[in-house]
């Protein structure tokens, strides 16, 4: 298919662009296969807008006489308005945008066409291999092994080809366990707590069914992570009732009789359409400037968004607490083990592991716990808060995770190597990107699409020094401790950087941020200078002493 077929009017003049808090600008609108480009006619060309079609969440058109107006709502929550003279042009442009922003074939997406303008220093596709992770692990313990049982994605289609499992469990046993777990997602190592040797495992629900099926290999596998005589905790992200209902459909939970050494905790985390609705309501509330105080607060409450944040953080703290404070191993799962499970395991690592609070460590975490672990990005992030499609599989699971990280970041502003912009950048790229990183739903699909060969990795771009400097937190000081956030409602805040980003003038806040960075930078310069001068003085003194002698 040629994109040209979809573009009936590639160019329109005298278009007026309205963005909130900016003066309207007149200019030329161009449509290409992947971009909507607007450039003002001013010589300096300061006003140029490049918008990826895949970033467009929804589009509305209306007419006043022959003047058409298109309102474009983006996945990054931005809303822009274009006034296009000429009814036909406007209709053509609107229908082109609609078609181009809803292409259903992955291989037509921009990452397959994108040619980077920068030199690739390090191929991001091979920056974070599980083998490297295992090497680090084997330097502290020999209780684990790398298994290639899923090499052909035959045991578990949503797992990566290699996984880390207890050494004492062989591949044959893993195959049996896979049959006992939903979608074949048998328990694998998610995190190893060096401080006390405790492990966090993740999986999907066991397929016990109504007659209480058991699987000896499954029991053996998870018991292999326990110290003798110690207990472990199973954190089930569903309420007990839901877990019980799941048995009727062949699912279930670990029953005490068969797992006597494990304590089960049900810590409910909301999923799917409930989250999506919550997201839509929150964005609606934030976008309406006319709300009086009572209405705003009740809308904020009705969205339930901050409740989800609190519940998620609480569950992650609970998992971290079991590992660090109780010195117990933990198994986390919900139903499929691809959403709430990953939220909990990845947030627990942010709390426990200082490495995850560095830029590279966080990237590795996203790769390991989200991309390789099979979070279905393509399904979940197909649409954002302006979508009308209401598909069951759309949900802001990853955004919630990022916001929880932001909440912890706010409470520990010096413990993270990255800044808020880094998290916002990941949110944007998860929904629309020129890079292939977030395409596909799991490693299996990515391999089939040949993404590493055909597209550029986000990490290849981010990890270049020029880009990195934008994402560094000037306040960062490595902090080797476990960081326990407060989950009191008074301590949680709306993530303004995402939700109010386009709804308020931010000039003064940005300037203040620059000033903060300047103070820190200036401090470093001054310290360097003082040290240099001290050295110079000391040398002079030493010289004098020599002369005196």
């Amino acid at each position: 298919m040629e994109f040209a077929e979809l573009i009936k009017t590639p160019r329109a003049d005298n278009v007026v662009l309205h963005c909130p808090f900016h003066l309207a600008v007149e200019g030329t609108l161009c449509l290409t296969g992947h971009h909507l480009i607007f450039s003002s006619r001013r010589q300096d060309n300061a006003e140029e807008l490049w918008l990826l079609h895949s970033n467009i969440d929804s589009i509305e058109k209306r007419f006043v006489g022959s003047l058409g107006t298109i309102v474009i709502k983006c996945k990054d929550l931005r809303i822009i308005q274009l006034d296009i003279p000429g009814m036909e042009e406007c209709l053509n442009i609107a229908s082109s945008i609609e078609a181009l922003s809803t292409l259903d074939s992955v291989t037509l997406m921009y990452p397959f066409f994108y040619r980077p303008m920068f030199e690739v220093l390090e191929d991001g596709w091979s920056s974070f291999l599980l083998e490297q992770e295992f090497e680090l692990l084997s330097s502290v313990t020999n209780e684990w092994r790398l298994s290639c049982v899923n090499k052909e994605f035959s045991v578990c289609p949503s797992y990566p080809p290699v996984v880390i499992v207890p050494k004492s469990i062989d591949d044959e046993a893993l195959r049996k366990v896979a049959l006992f777990r939903h979608g074949g997602r048998f328990p694998v190592l998610s995190y190893y707590h060096k401080k006390n040797g405790m492990a966090m495992l993740r999986s999907s629900q066991p397929l016990t069914g109504t007659n209480g099926r058991r699987c000896k290999e499954d029991e053996k596998l998870i018991n292999a992570t326990l110290r003798s005589g110690r207990r472990g905790f199973v954190i089930d992200t569903r309420p007990l009732a839901v877990a019980q209902q799941a048995r009727a459909k062949g699912g279930g939970f670990e029953q005490e009789v068969h797992y006597p050494q494990w304590r089960r905790i049900h810590k409910y985390i909301e999923r799917f359409n409930i989250l999506q609705e919550s997201f839509i309501k929150l964005v609606e509330a934030c976008n309406d400037q006319s709300h009086n105080m009572d209405r705003w607060l009740s809308k904020l409450e009705a969205s339930n968004w901050l409740t989800h944040i609190k519940e998620l953080l609480t569950a992650a703290c609970l998992a971290a607490q079991c590992i660090d404070r109780e010195s117990a191993s933990v198994l986390v799962h919900g139903s499929e083990g691809t959403d709430s499970t990953l939220q909990v395991t990845s947030l627990a690592q942010i709390i426990l592991d200082p490495r995850c609070r560095t830029i590279r460590g966080f990237e590795a975490l996203v790769v390991r716990e989200w991309l390789q672990a099979g979070h279905p990005f393509q399904q979940r992030c197909a649409q954002s808060a302006y979508s009308n499609s209401k598909q069951k599989w759309e949900a802001p699971v990853f955004l919630l995770f990022l916001e929880c990280v932001w909440q912890i970041h706010r409470q520990f502003p010096c413990s993270f190597e990255f800044n808020e912009q880094f998290l916002i950048m990941l949110f944007e790229h998860a929904y629309a990107s020129q890079f292939g990183t977030f395409l596909g739903n799991n490693e299996n699909e990515r391999a089939k699409l040949k993404l590493p060969q055909k597209t550029m990795s986000l990490w290849s771009w981010v990890n270049r020094p020029e880009e990195l400097s934008r994402f560094q937190n000037p306040l960062y000081e490595a902090n080797s401790l476990v960081i326990w956030p407060s989950v009191a409602p008074q301590s949680l805040q709306l993530w303004e950087g995402v939700f109010l980003r386009w709804n308020r003038p931010s000039k003064f806040l940005e300037e203040a941020e620059v000033e903060r960075i300047n103070i820190i930078k200036y401090n470093k310069e001054l310290q360097a200078k003082v040290n240099a001068l001290r050295r110079q003085l000391a040398e002079m003194e030493a010289d004098e002493e020599v002369q005196e002698e």
Partner: protein, 616 residues
């Protein structure tokens, strides 16, 4: 002195506690825990003491403070508890001004320092800075002996064309004699903020002198013919007042006025609103939705928004339309003070400096007779007179500092410290209800002024991001008052609940770094001088480099009173990491969790706030 007293964690779900000894002094309640940490509570800060039913571990005693600290003690013996309870009740309720802390507080200042301290803020100087007196405005001696209005200051500025008979006539037509006077003069726009109380208009009464007075004000503004009259009350309240012979201006009787209601609620609504807010924020195990709906039901943020919206309206009338504005409410000492002072703060960058803010409070709050004594319950009095009007003013300012991080010379700690001392009765500034009363109490001789102490400590209160060039003099600050900009002020209402605060304070870090930068600049100068000197005459033996470090200017600050030292001073930035988790791992969380786990319904496992104790 009572030993073995337990201090409970306010938000802990598991009755975690510290054990220590409780002492009662003449002015403070002191608790020293087993690790020798001290908690000081000034008796004047105590708003309420409550004895709860006896429990197995002892007799619980809950103390609520005006600075929003709430402490929960458990005293082992009921008799001790009863004694403490009675003593606190007596000590926290004072019948006479002379018994307040300010009259016994001795900061070791000599007499001339004391006098100088009181002279630090000179309002005549302030009016001169604004540009009055001038061709249109003059100082009136009508109230020199408090004869016309007891609750106004002696010095009042009025339009030149307002003769004494007009003033007297107008004052008789205004509630409590509070006739229209100048509060702020904008010299570029030649427009003025004036303030007064409601007219005694009833349903139809008129007063020619009052009408002349308003005309004089509008004529004193050569750049605009009409003036605004802002009634800060909700229309319904103002109309109800008419039945009592009070009311509001009839536009037909006054020429060239534009009358406007702005709908700020009265002191009683504000008091119960704060009460509701505190009830919600003090709930243990609060859910997000209960918090948000509680916040909504309390109406607190709605009120803050109303106050700020009114100030924006006022400031725009002056800055955009060059129109003078007359502000009043009922008596003209609560809402009027809020709106006039915030309006001036938006208009004039001077009030965004440390000194300027002190002047603003002295002018619009203290001198114009905001009833601090009644509103803050300094003496045992009518509980219906208590209202957080001044707290709302501070909160509005805090909201502005959040929106304009570089526009203010002072920081949040400054606002909190002022709030602390409005209630502490440690300094003379806020005692009493009006200037006349203060003079009768001879406060300037018998007590000390707060301001010099704050200035001496200025480093602590300075905003490191402050940029004096941010807004040149007399440029309007235009805040965005869309609802989502107003946030719950955690650092005010949970000032003492450390578990809720960020574990690392970006603000402290920036502040300390900024301080350090200044020091480093000094060091560099010195080092460069030394090197230069050495290059010049290398044979001279110079002092050791150590001298550098001893040369730091010693702080000249006066010894702080105990109240200035919060018992948990902010950690130095470089120790930020240490503030996260103490070396003490003997945390009782383990048993907590296990007991939680043994409950029948595991789905309700609730994590405690803060999860782990983070303090050192």
């Amino acid at each position: 002195q009572v030993e073995q007293v337990k201090l409970l964690d306010r938000f802990s779900t598991s009755n975690k506690s510290l054990t220590g000894t409780l002492y009662l002094t003449a002015t403070h309640l002191l608790f020293i825990d087993s690790s020798q940490r001290e908690t000081w509570i000034l008796h004047h800060h105590i708003a309420a003491v409550e004895k709860l039913p006896l429990t197995t571990s002892g007799c619980p005693l809950v103390i609520q403070c005006k600075n929003f600290r709430i402490v929960h003690f458990v005293v082992p013996r009921e008799r001790d508890c009863h004694d403490i309870y009675n003593s606190l009740l007596q000590l926290s309720r004072t019948a006479k001004y002379e018994e307040l802390y300010a009259f016994s507080y001795n900061p070791k200042q000599n007499e001339s320092e004391q006098v100088k301290g009181w002279q630090l803020i000179d309002l005549a100087e302030e009016y001169k800075r604004m540009g009055v007196p001038n061709d249109y405005w003059q100082l009136s001696d009508a109230n020199r002996d408090y004869k016309i209005c007891e609750t106004y200051p002696r010095e009042l500025y009025v339009p030149r064309t307002a003769s004494k008979p007009i003033i007297v006539g107008s004052s008789k037509f205004r509630s409590k004699g509070r006739f229209p006077v100048l509060s702020y003069y904008h010299k570029n726009k030649e427009a003025a903020i004036c303030r007064c109380s409601q007219p005694l208009s009833g349903f139809s009464a008129r007063c020619l002198e009052d009408e002349h007075m308003l005309q004089a004000i509008s004529k004193a503004n050569p750049s605009n013919r009409y003036m605004y009259v802002m009634d800060t009350r909700p229309k319904l309240n103002a109309m109800a007042n008419r039945a009592a012979g009070k009311g509001y201006e009839n536009e037909d009787n006054y020429s060239n006025i534009r009358f406007q209601f702005v709908g700020i609620e009265n002191i009683h609504v504000m008091r119960s609103s704060l009460q509701k807010l505190l009830e919600v924020s003090g709930t243990r195990g609060l859910s997000v939705n209960d918090f948000l709906s509680g916040l909504e039901n309390s109406g607190w943020l709605r009120h803050i928004k109303a106050v700020l919206d009114a100030a924006v309206f006022l400031a725009k009338a002056i800055a955009v339309e060059s129109a003078s504005v007359l502000v009043h409410c009922s008596d003209g000492w609560d809402r009027t003070s809020q709106v006039c002072s915030l309006g001036a703060l938006l208009l004039d960058s001077y009030y965004r400096t440390v000194k300027g803010f002190m002047v603003l409070i002295e002018k619009d709050w203290i001198s114009f007779g905001h009833k601090f004594s009644d509103r803050c319950c300094q003496l045992d009095g009518d509980p219906k007179e208590i209202s957080p009007v001044f707290t709302q003013f501070l909160e509005s300012v805090w909201n502005l500092t959040e929106q304009f991080p570089q526009a203010f010379e002072y920081n949040e700690a400054f606002l909190l410290q002022i709030h602390e001392h409005v209630h502490s009765c440690q300094f003379g500034n806020f005692l009493g209800n009006c200037q006349k009363e203060r003079e009768e109490l001879k406060l300037k001789e018998k007590t000390y002024s707060l301001w010099p102490f704050l200035l001496a400590d200025q480093k602590k209160y300075q905003n490191p991001l402050y940029n004096p060039d941010f807004s040149p003099e007399l440029t309007l600050l235009e805040p965005n008052t869309v609802s989502f900009n107003f946030k719950f002020w955690r650092n005010m209402y949970h000032q003492f609940d450390r578990s809720m605060h960020p574990r690392q304070s970006m603000f402290n870090l920036i502040m300390n770094t900024n301080e350090q930068n200044k020091q480093l600049e000094e060091d560099i100068k010195e080092l460069e001088a030394k090197i230069k000197q050495r290059n010049g005459q290398s044979d001279v033996v110079l002092e050791k480099e150590q001298e550098l470090t001893t040369h730091h200017p010693a702080p000249v600050a006066l010894k702080s009173p105990p109240c200035f030292q919060k018992e948990q001073p902010p950690m130095p930035a470089n120790d930020a990491v240490r503030t996260i988790e103490g070396s003490n791992t003997a945390d009782n969380r383990y048993s907590e969790l296990v007991s939680e786990f043994s409950k029948a319904e595991p789905a309700v496992v609730s994590l405690e706030y803060g999860v782990a104790r983070m303090t050192c």
